[in-house]
């Protein structure tokens, strides 16, 4: 599995970074070599390996113990019926997987995750782009506005969630009372308590929370669009709108594609906000893969099932990442290597 995992990122790395990076590394390491040989290569060689080992070991040990090993264990647990106590003896093969995949709550959770993936991008991208273009104009309070937009992103998801849960309280929450004031009747159980509205409400809160990230990244992307293009466009008499559509947005492509990737991966493992706002309810209407597996693991102690669900989550995330990498991001790495040699000449 480790090999499968390395390949997607490895791909992006190998084509552009590694060539550039490897080149730089080789070049930097070279001067040490002749000196080493003069002094007697063997001893220095051994010394080099010792240094490498000493330097890399702490990080590798922590990473292996708390990231790699738990994932290996997750795969192992998923093959047993296990309540969390006693030895792992009740081997059931793939039974946990069939149970998870046939479980309607889990199926719904996968659908919810995918809805969140798609709608997050579909809503936040145009909004984020609009706000970023707005804040890229010359105006007063520009720095202040950028900070304000970034505030929700800075808050812990849990803390933001608790505030929103209060605002969304049925009847006495500010949202319901404002709607009532303008003549709209909110659902009796509140937006989070009504199955038809709950998921969309969570999405609204997520949009509020994460729009700032999109804006900040897009603003950064805007900084790297060459000014000459705008000057040329102005000379050609292009309107502001044409300029944005023909120059800004296409040149923001790499930033946008990378943000979409982050957004998708985040949406697939969504947990904190949902747990605070709804615990996956009402009637499982906001259940995600992560809330499902935490529910199974902590509330019901079905560690086998929970682990199977986590492996399924991982596989889905991996497939999405791989497909996205192959179909979308590959373009950027190719572009970087060919069309933008500037980056490698440093």
């Amino acid at each position: 599995m480790a090999d499968d995992v390395t390949s997607p990122t490895g791909e992006s790395t190998s084509s552009a970074t590694l060539t550039a990076a490897g080149g730089a590394g080789r070049a930097t390491a070279r001067p040490a070599r002749p000196a080493a040989n003069e002094r007697g290569g063997r001893r220095t060689d051994r010394r080099m390996w010792l240094e490498i080992a000493v330097f890399v070991t702490p990080a590798l040990a922590i990473f292996a113990a708390f990231v790699v090993w738990p994932i290996v264990k997750a795969v192992q647990f998923s093959l047993y019926r296990w309540k969390g106590y006693g030895p792992l003896v009740d081997f059931v093969g793939l039974e946990n997987y069939t149970k998870v995949l046939r479980n309607e709550v889990f199926q719904d959770a996968v659908v919810h995750n995918l809805v969140i993936v798609v709608l997050s991008v579909a809503v936040q991208l145009p909004l984020g782009l609009a706000v970023a273009l707005l804040l890229n104009r010359r105006m007063r309070f520009q720095g202040l506005m950028r900070t304000i937009v970034f505030v929700p992103y800075v808050l812990a998801e849990v803390i933001a969630g608790v505030v929103w849960a209060q605002l969304l309280q049925p009847k006495y929450g500010i949202v319901d009372s404002l709607l009532t004031a303008i003549g709209i009747t909110p659902p009796a159980q509140g937006f989070l308590g009504t199955p038809e509205y709950a998921l969309m409400t969570v999405l609204v809160v997520l949009t509020w929370k994460y729009l700032g990230l999109a804006v900040i990244l897009l603003l950064a992307g805007l900084q790297s669009v060459p000014d000459e293009l705008y000057e040329a466009a102005q000379l050609d008499g292009a309107t502001w709108w044409q300029t944005q559509r023909r120059i800004t947005v296409p040149l923001l492509g790499p930033t946008i594609r990378m943000w979409i990737f982050l957004s998708m991966v985040g949406s697939l493992q969504l947990f904190d906000m949902v747990w605070i706002l709804t615990r996956g309810g009402p009637a499982n209407a906001t259940m995600t893969m992560a809330t499902f597996l935490i529910n199974e693991g902590t509330k019901r102690s079905n560690y086998g099932i929970a682990s199977a669900a986590s492996v399924v989550l991982f596989v889905i995330a991996l497939v999405v990442a791989l497909l996205y990498q192959r179909l979308v991001l590959a373009r950027d790495t190719a572009e970087t290597a060919v069309a933008r040699p500037r980056r490698r000449t440093r």
Binding site: A21, I52, V56, L155, I159, L211, L217, A220, I294, G297
Partner: protein, 296 residues
């Protein structure tokens, strides 16, 4: 993801000259622009302000007029939280865990990034890719076994280390991905010169590389701190009672005092403040770190 980090060391400095020229190409903001900005700011800040002001109201005020202003201003909600030893206990736990996580990430990440950036040895790219692959693991996947490993095998359940170490582990990939190109970008002439002057490679690391890597280390440190301070899932599983962190404290308080909306607002607001102050002070660092990870 990694590609882009290559030019990071030059990026954080910013390009003010460029930006200024850019702005002129864009035209001034008219009343419409400011109007839209006002709307955006209102939508963004209203929930936060409602929370802050709600903490200054009584529950009766909140029930009678949810959208009103404090009248009269009630201080007891805030003083109640500030005199609550549990609140300070949570804040201490959050701080210690975040600091330990940050230290472990920066020290271990820096040490690992050095040979991965500046030594040439077989297997170097393989080791690097092992870390890079870590970017792909959703933390939720490992959470159940992590819980078991930490509580049973290591006996670190309900302890600061038990949360800090795994959080550091999950922050390491991003750290190394950011630091490696940063270290690579330090001119090799410096290394040659120091080696000619008789320094060892370790000496070069200590005397030259470390001081030059300050900005990179601050960026990864801030990112690790943010991640640790805001974390919820892992602390939720591992920490009980006195050991809880602020996000857990906020979540608990809001369920235990669900009828006391004003109290919840006060508690939440006070829990927000340290994070907001720190993060706004470090905003540039956070943003440049994110760009390092994302910029296309």
């Amino acid at each position: 993801m990694t590609t882009t980090t290559l030019d990071r060391p030059t990026a954080p400095a910013g390009r003010p000259g460029r930006r200024n020229r850019r702005r002129s190409a864009f035209g001034e903001g008219g009343p419409l622009v400011y109007g839209i900005c006002l709307v955006v700011a209102a939508v963004t800040l209203t929930p936060v302000l409602v929370g802050v002001l709600g903490g200054f109201r009584s529950n009766a005020q909140l029930a009678n007029d949810p959208a009103g202003l404090p009248d009269p201003w009630v201080w007891t909600n805030y003083t109640g939280v500030l005199t609550d030893p549990a609140f300070w206990r949570y804040a201490l736990n959050s701080s210690v865990i975040a600091v330990v996580t940050t230290l472990v990430v920066v020290v271990a990440g820096m040490m690992a990034a050095y040979p991965l950036a500046r030594y040439r040895f077989p297997g170097r790219e393989a080791v690097y890719l092992v870390f890079v692959a870590g970017l792909l693991f959703p933390a939720a996947v490992a959470i159940i076994p992590l819980f078991i490993i930490i509580t049973r095998d290591l006996g670190l359940g309900n302890s600061w280390w038990g949360v800090a170490l795994p959080q550091a582990a999950f922050a390491l990939p991003m750290t190394i991905v950011i630091l490696r190109p940063f270290l690579m970008a330090i001119p090799r002439e410096l290394e040659e010169a120091s080696l000619l002057d008789g320094a060892t490679r370790i000496g070069f690391f200590w005397r030259i590389l470390l001081p030059l890597s300050g900005p990179g280390m601050v960026t990864v440190g801030v990112l690790a701190f943010v991640g640790s301070w805001n974390a919820y899932l892992l602390p939720l599983l591992l920490l009980q009672s006195d050991m809880k962190t602020l996000p857990l404290g906020v979540a608990d308080f809001s369920t235990e005092h669900s009828a006391d909306t004003a109290g919840v607002f006060a508690f939440t607001t006070l829990a927000m403040i340290p994070a907001l102050v720190f993060f706004l002070a470090m905003q540039k660092r956070i943003v440049s770190g994110l760009q390092g990870a994302v910029k296309g």
